[in-house]
Symmetry: C2
Subunit: 341 residues, 2 copies
Amino acid sequence: MISPLDPAAMAEARAHHDRLTKPRGALGALEDVAVRLAGIAAVSPPPLPEPVALAIFAADHGVHAQGVSPWPQEVTQQMVANFLAGGAVANAFAGQVGASVTVVDVGVNGDLPDAPGLVSRKVRRGTADLSLGPAMTEAEARQAREAGAEVAERLVAQGARCLVTGDMGIANTTASAALICAYTGKEPGEVTGRGTGIDDAMLAHKIAVVTRALEVNRGLDPLAALGGLEHAAIAGYLLKAAELRIPVILDGVIAGAAALAAAAIAPDATGYWIAGHRSAEPGHTAALAHLGLRPLVDLELRLGEGTGGLLAHPLVVAAARVLHEVATFDAAGVTDKEALA
Amino acid sequence: MISPLDPAAMAEARAHHDRLTKPRGALGALEDVAVRLAGIAAVSPPPLPEPVALAIFAADHGVHAQGVSPWPQEVTQQMVANFLAGGAVANAFAGQVGASVTVVDVGVNGDLPDAPGLVSRKVRRGTADLSLGPAMTEAEARQAREAGAEVAERLVAQGARCLVTGDMGIANTTASAALICAYTGKEPGEVTGRGTGIDDAMLAHKIAVVTRALEVNRGLDPLAALGGLEHAAIAGYLLKAAELRIPVILDGVIAGAAALAAAAIAPDATGYWIAGHRSAEPGHTAALAHLGLRPLVDLELRLGEGTGGLLAHPLVVAAARVLHEVATFDAAGVTDKEALA
């Protein structure tokens, strides 16, 4: 059961902002974040969104066989090992903000040895090739959503008061582009990007693959037919967090595509998600526009893993902190121009 | 003596980035920040830019008499007291990143009682009205620059490895607009903004005041004739930091205007400054473009005090951290697509 944001807490946060020693609205988009956090927590000032937890959902993609990525599929597994060893950029950024890192295998094409920090919820060894037929069945997509929901629930039970989405899956920008087309109505040529770095010829091929995927799966549930197992898991994670009234910072284009799927299931959940950043992928801009979310960081990152979401976390904390720590005009003895008028 | 950034350290930082377990260039603008930090420190990886110190330079403006701000001039002093009591937004954001806060009176129009954290270097009680003649003499501007340089030197001697600019001065966006016109060649109508919040009629008047200021001071040194005492102090602070090879995160439009003045004095110093954010003031965009700096945060803040610079600090730290903590392809056993090609 997902409730809308609490309007009374949001109104109180807005009114409190206007009493603080700063010109009205002077914190721009950060004020909107603070108001949203109040609506999520149903109290103003909202609690600081700490501690924070990152879940990286990892899975492989059958469409890799179409030659849409210059990276071999094994890199998904290799990067999972890198996350577990603490060597990836996501680990460095997580350490800086004090985030725990949980890696969730929902569909890696290989056997991963047990390791601390690894949650094994493999639904299948990678999706089927979405350009030839459905990437997965609806039951498989549901199973991946349940894995994501379970992880969100566990992290919150362990004390997390803010979640960040992360993903790893070679070729997952192809599935993201297909999902974004299906949910926003955009054309493949508008939303398909260079992912982790492809040349013009491979980009043209990737657009053709996305176009074919949309054709062969017309009429089917987009999340199951076009998505990756990590997209489905992130959708479940996002919906469970909204149910638990915990804010989620979205990472990049994979999270954006998953959020479109989750918003189609429960539109009220969108209020619980904060766009951490805007990636270099054109589809991400389309997804954020459709969701009505404004990204906090916009630095042309195109890495995934949760890196853009983690970078935004201090901004989200700062937004909430203002409502706790800043003096009012009255208390500080500062003249309020609005009171003069 | 200000030296250019170290090209060998920058080349090493670039090469190191390309060995790390991420697609090349995947950290976008953060990679450029890391390379710049290496050039500043003349070593790769560069040290983390911590601890960080904020100096808020406060001064009043004779042009306030022209009715360019809805706030009474006393608010400058009142906000200085608020900074010293820890109640302003800058204090909240400084606390979050562990920044010390030093308030420097270079020209407040009033007597400020001694207080811990307040440095008294008052040059005069506010500038003269720049729309009637020079705001200050060249000797006064020099004295304010020296105060800023002294503060930078002291903060670095106390251990700071990153500085942030801050400012407080009712009407200082008017002086900033005039400085930006003088240094970039833009017209007053293009760069004059609403500051902390003015209506259309006051904006039109403010543009006329800036236009008159440029006319009456034609041929004079722009920093002295058009600037505020805080602009001159920030220029000195920026130049001293560059001399000491310490990065400075610029706050908003006041810092941008001061940086234009400092860059005119020592063009090589620009490399030592990182644009923390882009404010809602149109002149700030013009100043950053002229300086060739890309802002890290772009959230329509229009507060000053150093708030935008402080918000950017975690991004700057994260940029440097990548070069320290992230595993290489070789060490992590991850396949590098570039090595495959």
